[in-house]
Amino acid sequence: MLRLFISRLLALIPLLFAISTVTFFLIHLIPGDPVDLMLGDYATDQDRAELREALGFTGSLFSQYLSFLVNLVKLDFGKSIFSGVAVSSLLFERLPATIELSLASIILAVGWGIPAGVLTASTKSKTVDFFGTSVGVLGMSLPGYFLGPILIWIFAVLFGILPVGERGGVSHLILPSLSLALPLGAILMRMTRAAMKEELTEDYIKVAYSKGITKRKVYFKHALKNALMPVVTLIGLQIGMLLTGTVITETIFNWPGLGTLLFDGIQQRDYPIVQGCILVIATIYVLVNFVTDLSYSFIDPRVKTK
C-alpha cells in the first residue's frame, strides 16, 4: 500500500512539471506581443519596457522559463498587472470560496445521484424505470449555465426567496451549488443505475438471495459495493470537471472564487492572474485524480495486487 502510494506520488512530479510548462508556453507563445496587446496602440516605448520588466518578459524565452520555474517553487506567481497585488495572495484569498462551492455541489450530487441510481435500478415499476432513464439523459443535456439562470429566475425573480450572488450563509450557497449538482447528480445516477443493473444479474446476487439475506442488504451491501467502482472513477473525473465548471457558475452567481478571478483576469488580459489560476486549478485536478486512483485499492482489494 505504501509503495503504491509513493510510486503514484512520484508520478505526479513530471505531470506537474508538464502542466507548468504548458501553462508557461501558452501565455508566452501568444501570436503578437502580449505587451502590445495589453497596452494598445498609444503606449510609449517606455511604457512597454516597464511592463515587460514587470511581467518578467525580459531576456531569452529560456531564461524567462527558468525564472518562472524557480519562482513557482517559491509559490511566487508574480503580481497582478492591474492591482499590483501578489497573485499568490489573491489565489489563497479566492480558493476557499471555490472549494466550498465544489464540496457543497459534490455532496449534493452524490447525495441524490447514487440513491436515485440504486432505487431506479432495483425497481420493477416501469414508470420509475422510465423516470430514471429520462432524468438521466435530461440531466446530461442540461448545462449549468442554463440551469443557473433558470434557478435565479424561479427562486430569486419570481418568488424572491433566495439571494443571488456574493458569498454568505448557507442561503447564498443553495442556488449555485444546485446548478452544479443537478446535472452532476444525473450523470452519477445514470452510471450507478447502469452498474447496479449489471451487478443485479450476476450469480452472487442469486446466491445472496438464496441464503435468505434481505433485499435491502443485497442491494446496498452486495450489489452497490461492486457497482461503486466505476462510479468512484466518475466522481473523481467529475470533481475535475466541477472545478472547471465553476468558472461559468461563479461568473453567473458572482461567486468570489477562483473562477471569477480567472474570468476577470481573462477580460482584463491580466496574464499573471490567468497563469496562476490555470496552474492552481490544474494542480487540484491532478491531485483529485491521484486520490481517485488511490481510492480504488480501498474499495476493491484486487487492485492492490496489480
Binding site: M140, P143, Y145, P149, T244, I248, I266, A282, Y285, V286
Partner: protein, 274 residues
C-alpha cells in the same frame, strides 16, 4: 436498419437533430447584418406571430439570431468531432497496432493531455488566441481528440489478437492494409456512438465558452452569447435567455439520445442500460 429506427431513443434523437439541421440550413438565407439590425422601439417584445421568439434588448428578432446560432453550433461541433476523429484514429491506430515502446511513449503523451482539464485548456487557448470560430475549433479539437485516441487504441489492442488478423498477417498483408482494410471497418459502430456523445459534449463546451464571451466574435450570434445576454434581462424579458437555452438543451439531448439508441442497437448485450 428498421430495427434502428424503431428504437425510441434513436428516432427521437434523430428527429431533434434533424429539426436543428433544417433550421440551420434555412438560416443560410438570413443576412447577418439584418439579423443584428438595431430597432430600439421594438425591444423586449414577448414572443408573437411576427417575432416567433420575441425580440432582444436591441429590438432584433430573436428567432433569426437563434437560427444563425444553430448553424454556428452545428458547424463547430461537427468540425471538432471530425478532426478529433481523424487525429484520434491515426494516433490510436499507430499506438495500438505498433505496441511496445512506441505505444508506451505515445500513451505517456496522451496522459499529459488527460492531466490538463480540457475545458480549462480550451478556455486558456481561446483567450490567448482571441475569439474566432477557427480558434474555437482548434482549441476544442486539441482537447477533444484524446478520447478518440484512447478508445481506438484499446479497440485495436483487442482486435489485433483476433484469428482473422493473424491470418491476414500470415498472408503477407502490409500493416497499413491490415489496419485500414481489416481493423477499421470493425470500429464503425463504436466510433459512431462515440461521435454522437462527443458532439453533445463539444456543444456544451462550445456554448459554455461562448457564454463567457470566448466563442465566436461578438457580432456573430451564438446560443451561448445570447443566453449570457438574456440572463441580465430575466426580469424584463425572460424569453431572451429561455429560447437559446432550450435550443442548447434540445440539441444536446438529441445527440445524447442518438448515442443511447445506437448503443442499444449496435450492442444489445453490453452497456445497454440507460
Amino acid at each position: 436498419m428498421i430495427k434502428t429506427f424503431k428504437n425510441p431513443f434513436f428516432s427521437v434523437g434523430l428527429l431533434l437533430v434533424s429539426i436543428f439541421a433544417i433550421i440551420s440550413f434555412f438560416s443560410l438565407s438570413i443576412d447577418l447584418n439584418s439579423a443584428n439590425e438595431i430597432n430600439l422601439s421594438n425591444k423586449f417584445q414577448a414572443p408573437n406571430l411576427v417575432n416567433l421568439f420575441g425580440t432582444d434588448e436591441t429590438g432584433a428578432d430573436l428567432f433569426k439570431k437563434v437560427a444563425i446560432g444553430a448553424r454556428i453550433s452545428l458547424v463547430i461541433s461537427f468540425s471538432v468531432v471530425f478532426f478529433s476523429l481523424i487525429i484520434g484514429l491515426i494516433y490510436g491506430s499507430v499506438a495500438g497496432y505498433k505496441g511496445g515502446r512506441t505505444d508506451q511513449f505515445m500513451m505517456r503523451i496522451l496522459d499529459l493531455f488527460y492531466a490538463f482539464p480540457g475545458f480549462l485548456l480550451a478556455l486558456a487557448l481561446v483567450s490567448v488566441l482571441g475569439p474566432s470560430v477557427k480558434n474555437l475549433i482548434f482549441a476544442l479539437t486539441l482537447t477533444g481528440w484524446t478520447g478518440f485516441a484512447r478508445l481506438i487504441r484499446g479497440e485495436i489492442l483487442y482486435l489485433k489478437e483476433k484469428d482473422y488478423i493473424q491470418a491476414a498477417t500470415a498472408l503477407g498483408n502490409s500493416s497499413t492494409r491490415i489496419v485500414c482494410r481489416y481493423i477499421w471497418p470493425n470500429l464503425f459502430g463504436v466510433l459512431l456512438v462515440q461521435c454522437t456523445f462527443s458532439l453533445a459534449g463539444t456543444l456544451i463546451v462550445e456554448s459554455g465558452l461562448s457564454f463567457l464571451g470566448l466563442g465566436a466574435p461578438a457580432h456573430i450570434p451564438t446560443w451561448g452569447s445570447l443566453l449570457n445576454t438574456g440572463r441580465f434581462y430575466l426580469v424584463e424579458a425572460y424569453h431572451i435567455a429561455l429560447f437559446p437555452g432550450l435550443c442548447i438543451v434540445f440539441l444536446v439531448l438529441g445527440f445524447n439520445l442518438l448515442g443511447d439508441g445506437l448503443k442499444q442497437v449496435l450492442d444489445p448485450k453490453k452497456n445497454s442500460v440507460v
